[in-house]
């Protein structure tokens, strides 16, 4: 169970990081003006 928890936690963390990274990359021109 501990094993599964560690793998799932790492997976969620990396996916969230990639999601935000891609969002910034795609939205930067808009964010730059809107922010």
């Amino acid at each position: 169970m501990l094993q599964a928890a560690v793998i799932i936690s790492c997976g969620i963390c990396v996916v969230a990081g990639l999601y935000v990274g891609i969002m910034i990359f795609r939205e930067f021109p808009r964010l730059r003006n809107k922010l």
Partner: protein, 457 residues
């Protein structure tokens, strides 16, 4: 450390500064203070996560976990848990104050000008000291790890933060926070992967004591409850978190941004605690905040170490920039504007930017000159929860709250916390934060009850 790792760290800091310059310089007060109140949910999530995941919730938690094990997951979980609760019930209400620029401003709307003054001054002191505290802690930890002098680390680490916080206000703070979040979220879990324990947690169990896998970690129940309460209440609605709610596009997005950031804390804290336990097993005898960095150094290959160190820099800078920004806004909006009510938005913006520079430089000087100040700063750090938090939450939920009860709660909470900490020497090990919060609520409800009774009589 290899030169490739240093290059990765230098590229990362350079990229942050470049992106800041590319984002336009702030020209409006509302841009500077609350990013024109147009932050989408994903940005609120990323920036709030990066802000509350500070050095304490990485290096500090890992060090404690190395010593006591997974009980620190239970303790650390109090932070994401309160973030979810705040997101569900309080953050949307906070966002409804669409004319306000700061938490002091909101408190002023609810409880009147004296409370705005007190909250503004507390917020200013709290945030300014935290900037210095983070700079000092950062300098010591990185110096211990790399061999570079703490002074150099403090200056090199804090100057870019001052620059981008003054340049673009909260908009660049949030943008850089989101970038820092992306880097730290991808980089930090790699420590577990490269340690070899990701698919072999069973072998870890044989290397640390069984106590590491219990829910109490050997703590007496009273101490464990005290720690959980301190973590739950200690960081509720700190000024930088309130700014994220005020900057959201609408109340719904403020709430869901907070809830997502809270949910993210569940896997994050688990990873940090696991890295701490891996560090404890791999480096027996080593204690303190460097355990996280030494574990990284032990397992990560060249290049990856630089990326993870950049992630650590991000963790520190994203908390520091948010506090620096909140201190400057508290100064201009809650202190200067009350002295000069006729000050124009341009003047307030200019003063906010000057304040970022001045507070940043003073924080560096303090961090360089007064290492023994850390303990004193920690006491200031414990003053937020016993004073402002409960009246703020109640005031947001109860529209007809009596104005005098806010002031009574703040004064009683501050006095009780100070007496508990300094006068009585923390009896029974109960944190001064808890004692202050109880006194705050007794005074708050006594005054509220007398007011209601007086009105109905």
């Amino acid at each position: 450390m290899h030169w490739i790792d240093w290059t990765v760290v230098a590229l990362y800091i350079g990229a942050l500064v470049l992106i800041t310059v590319k984002a336009r310089r702030t020209r409006l007060l509302e841009d500077f203070t609350v990013a024109s109140r147009d932050m989408p949910r994903a940005m609120v999530f990323a920036t709030l996560s990066a802000t509350y995941i500070g050095p304490a919730y990485t290096l500090g938690i890992a060090a404690s976990a190395a010593e006591r094990g997974y009980v620190w997951y239970l303790i650390a979980l109090m932070v994401p848990l309160q973030t979810i609760l705040i997101g569900k019930w309080v953050a949307p209400r906070l966002r409804e104050y669409s004319q306000c620029h700061s938490v002091g401003h909101v408190m002023g709307e609810i409880y009147g000008t004296p409370v705005r003054w007190i909250t503004g001054i507390l917020s200013f002191l709290f945030n300014s000291f935290v900037v210095g505290l983070i700079a000092r802690a950062f300098g010591e930890v990185v110096s211990n790890f790399t061999g570079i002098s703490a002074e150099t680390v403090i200056i090199v680490g804090t100057l870019p933060v001052i620059f981008y916080a003054a340049w673009g206000g909260v908009k660049t703070v949030m943008l850089t926070d989101a970038i820092q979040f992306a880097v730290l979220a991808v980089a930090i879990p790699s420590v577990i992967y490269f340690s070899g324990f990701l698919f072999d947690m069973g072998s870890l169990a044989g290397k640390v004591s069984e106590l590491h896998f219990t829910w109490h970690g050997g703590y007496p129940p009273g101490e464990l409850w005290g720690l959980m309460a301190a973590f739950f209440f200690g960081e509720i609605l700190l000024p930088p978190y309130c700014v994220r709610a005020l900057a959201a596009r609408d109340p719904k997005q403020a709430g869901s941004g907070f809830v997502s950031a809270g949910l993210y804390g569940f896997p994050w804290m688990f990873i940090v605690v696991t890295i701490g336990i891996i560090g404890g097993a791999s480096l027996p005898g080593l204690t303190g905040d460097t355990i996280f960095l030494k574990t990284m150094e032990m397992y990560l290959p060249v290049g990856m170490l630089g990326l993870v160190l950049a992630g650590i820099f991000g963790i520190i800078m994203s908390s520091q920039d948010s506090c620096l920004h909140s201190a400057s806004v508290a100064f201009s909006i809650d202190i200067y504007q009350l002295i000069r009510p006729d000050a124009s938005d341009e003047t307030l913006l200019r003063y906010s930017q000057y304040a970022v520079g001045a507070i940043g430089v003073i924080a560096i000087i303090f961090a360089l000159l007064v290492p023994g100040l850390v303990q004193a700063l920690m006491i200031v750090y414990t003053m937020w929860a016993p004073t402002v938090v409960a009246p703020l939450v109640i005031g947001l939920l109860w529209k007809d709250v009596p104005k005098a009860s806010g002031l009574a709660g703040i004064v009683a909470g501050a006095a009780a916390a100070a007496i508990w900490e300094w006068g009585l020497g923390i009896p029974y090990g109960v944190p001064s934060l808890v004692a202050g919060l109880v006194a705050n609520q007794l005074a708050f409800w006594t005054v509220a009850y007398s007011y209601r009774k007086g009105r109905t009589a």
